[in-house]
Point group: C2
Chain length 550, copies 2
Amino acid sequence: MDTRTSPEPITFGRTPDGYVHWKLSFDGPVATLVMAVQEDHPLRPGYRLKLNSYDLGVDLELYDAVQRLRFEHPEVRCVVITGALDRVFCAGANINMLAGSTHSFKVNFCKFTNETRLSIEDASALSGQKYLAALNGVCAGGGSELALACDEIVLVDDGNSAVSLPEVPLLGVLPGTGGLTRLVDKRKVRRDLADMFCTVAEGVKGKRAVAWNLVDEVATKSRFAEAVSRRAKDLVASSPPRETNGVPLPPLPRKREGDTIRWDHVTLAIDRGKRTATLTVAGPAAGGPSTASAIRALGAAWWPLAAFRELDEALLELRHNEEEIGLVLLKTEGDVEAALELDRVLEAQASDWFVTEVRAHIARTLRRLDLTARSLYALIEPGSCFAGTLFELALAADRSYMLYDKDRPVAVAISPMNAGAYPMTHGLTRLSVRFFGDPETAARLAAEPRVYDPTDAEEAGLVSVVADEIDYEDEVRVAVEERVSLSPDALTGMEASLRFPGSETGDSKIFARLSAWQNWIFQRPNAVGERGALTLYGKPERPVFDFRRT
Amino acid sequence: MDTRTSPEPITFGRTPDGYVHWKLSFDGPVATLVMAVQEDHPLRPGYRLKLNSYDLGVDLELYDAVQRLRFEHPEVRCVVITGALDRVFCAGANINMLAGSTHSFKVNFCKFTNETRLSIEDASALSGQKYLAALNGVCAGGGSELALACDEIVLVDDGNSAVSLPEVPLLGVLPGTGGLTRLVDKRKVRRDLADMFCTVAEGVKGKRAVAWNLVDEVATKSRFAEAVSRRAKDLVASSPPRETNGVPLPPLPRKREGDTIRWDHVTLAIDRGKRTATLTVAGPAAGGPSTASAIRALGAAWWPLAAFRELDEALLELRHNEEEIGLVLLKTEGDVEAALELDRVLEAQASDWFVTEVRAHIARTLRRLDLTARSLYALIEPGSCFAGTLFELALAADRSYMLYDKDRPVAVAISPMNAGAYPMTHGLTRLSVRFFGDPETAARLAAEPRVYDPTDAEEAGLVSVVADEIDYEDEVRVAVEERVSLSPDALTGMEASLRFPGSETGDSKIFARLSAWQNWIFQRPNAVGERGALTLYGKPERPVFDFRRT
């Protein structure tokens, strides 16, 4: 029995033939992704998706397309994103949807759209799939932020079409999908010009948009198609050709039994009473494929891709459908040696395009885990296989508890995959973050892959707590009960701070500097109060602000 | 007539003989700063400063002491911070004060305490004044964060005294004075240990505090004084001896005339109706001192120190006493050549300790300007002297407007002081931030100091807008009116994002990642609602949380 009380759960799997809001087509190495939002198909009732504005449903299809292009269409070297409407490319995130959503939904929506924009940049950097924004009309707010995530931007020059970020002047909130960061950090727009751009509701068009580096080129209506096609051709030429046989991504098998969702390798068991979830990943079986061709024969059924696709979906389930679950207990099941054998294949076959894609997908999923605003405890118990790639789950956790039981062996293991294959958003490995104060130890551990029993793991500093069979259960129980009793907001801020020691990158600044500010603003009466700007958008009343500055 | 309607204004100047809450004493190269908070002397009525808890009044004295030690006591090479109470070092920021304060006051209070902690680290890095926290008793919350800002920490080992950050478990807010960042980034505490430390209200004491690197040493009560004295001696030995004749810092002269405050070189004119302030800095006179001894003879009256001490106070006035002023118009008055002459002296005498201190003070004041949550427009008009050091004001502004008037010359100028003397919080110069997309231009401009007329300044990209005498006034008026009409929250978040392209440092992470989260949490019902944890602290009721995670 499903004891959920929230609205109908969101589903996450999408397939191109089921896309409602996008059209994906192919012309050799160029794919075209046309935004054609059906205004009467919102994800939840209550608003209309006018003018190619988007909601989570639109973005879930975009996420699927970006993923699928990498696995199913490795021949693609340039993806053109354009719009199906006349004179409008995209009006950004739907305002009525935002104004009518809970704070936690808004924050999680923005986080997902941010991760999807980053997945576009990841596809460009790691898969050579270059993105070209072909702005065929007005491009506002989240539309501009989608364009900013692309490698190049062409804007139609029709006397009317502008790029704009009208969030500050019109809505009293921030461009929350990386726009501010990408303006100055990625496109390196001069900061005073960025200031002007972000405060002028109607945006900037024509030659000025090029002069300020907001777009790369403007082209008149009659020359627009040619300009887009020329740039697409150049982008293709800039990217080396790859494999032409893709690997299809079938829908993920899932079964719900009461409050438990089971995929093939991943199980998410919700305990609403305790506000905890147990997320269990079953490790690989021994004797998996070791050659590129054998791996390809398995395709999406190959364990690392299947398991991490499932884990990715489980994290989205948690974020969007289980808002009150405060603590996730991370478990693994399986054989340490088999997990290490799998890692040896991931390492040895790194030059194969498909293995490269699988590794990149694992890295993205682990980053989604790092950025999930839930407390994470790894429970390392008999029968677990926190080894190499799967040890990243323990490294991502806020704490790890390991059972020492002389009758039932438990181990964790470091593999070469812990040495750099899965960077965090801020560019560091989880192992180097764990030993941020002792980089020599981090380097030594990474350079000497091995298996650690509880005593060795504790001595090496690889786990938080080792407890014997007498104490373990109580220790974990108390730690769980304490954690779920604390303020969920304070935990979110604390975890966002402690999980990321060290440098920041443009990617991590989007989640740190920008998203934290956006969350703050999303909560302020000046935005969401009765007379706040977001609340009153589209209504005749003018917002009334409390002008005290903070 | 003062038209202010807010509570009695806060005053900022302090002198050691007027300290209420601290005792400053000297023993050769070791200064001792004893926290002895008078509980019945809060800055504003309504709470008692029990157990060495602090408010802005306590922190203003600390700020004064840190400043004064650098200028008046260059012989000091180690500052010991300890507490006057038995069994208690410091209980942190006063909870009743926080619970009873407005959101904007809380945020500005935290910002100031953060800047003061950073000024301690600045004194250590640039002046060789090493700070030693001698924790003579329980050290909680902001007390621990003060200790974390010191170079070394000794904790008494009496079976009771612990360091703790109980904000998350007890108050439902974050340690907001850099604690989370300094734990993992500065002291490099392993992140899972930091997680445990930050969620256990009673904190960590004794050997475990050393093992986790929360403190450098614990010493029994009988050996505590010896341990502190030994470490103080070692810190003195680690820092080269300096000048022994300090420069006294007299109180700043200020006059209030209606809504205008005048210091000798700085004027702050408030227009509450327009919600703007005009902040004018009068530049140096020609023919100032050029040798170290002549500069020393002037002491605190030397223009750059006097003007920037006044500017520093003006910024505090704005932040704490003028919360509704949304836009600051930055102006200068004086002679460009005289300003450049002054910069040549600042450059040529850089090896003199006093000039070093003055340069460091200018840098800190400019960073306070960058971090001031008000929109900043620089107005570059006839009679102004935005040259070199003073051009940093224009570079710090969100926008700059320059008048082109063929009858009245206006100029800006780059000097060698723009090339690195005044780094921003994130380590970059304001010139390199302005040309973040074009580092060659930034380097070339910095390497070729010169004067720019409006045409040249516009071509070089040094100002945002150049307008002639027909358009200038209207252009500025419209830009001002537009700015003050926008959501103050959205502007705060936008400016905090656009002002800091590029890398982050520990310092900037404190203001970016940590403070933004703290601001968010300070606004959340789980902290400040009727049944929030901060509201109910010390009362018999238990907080009631909305457990939805964001």
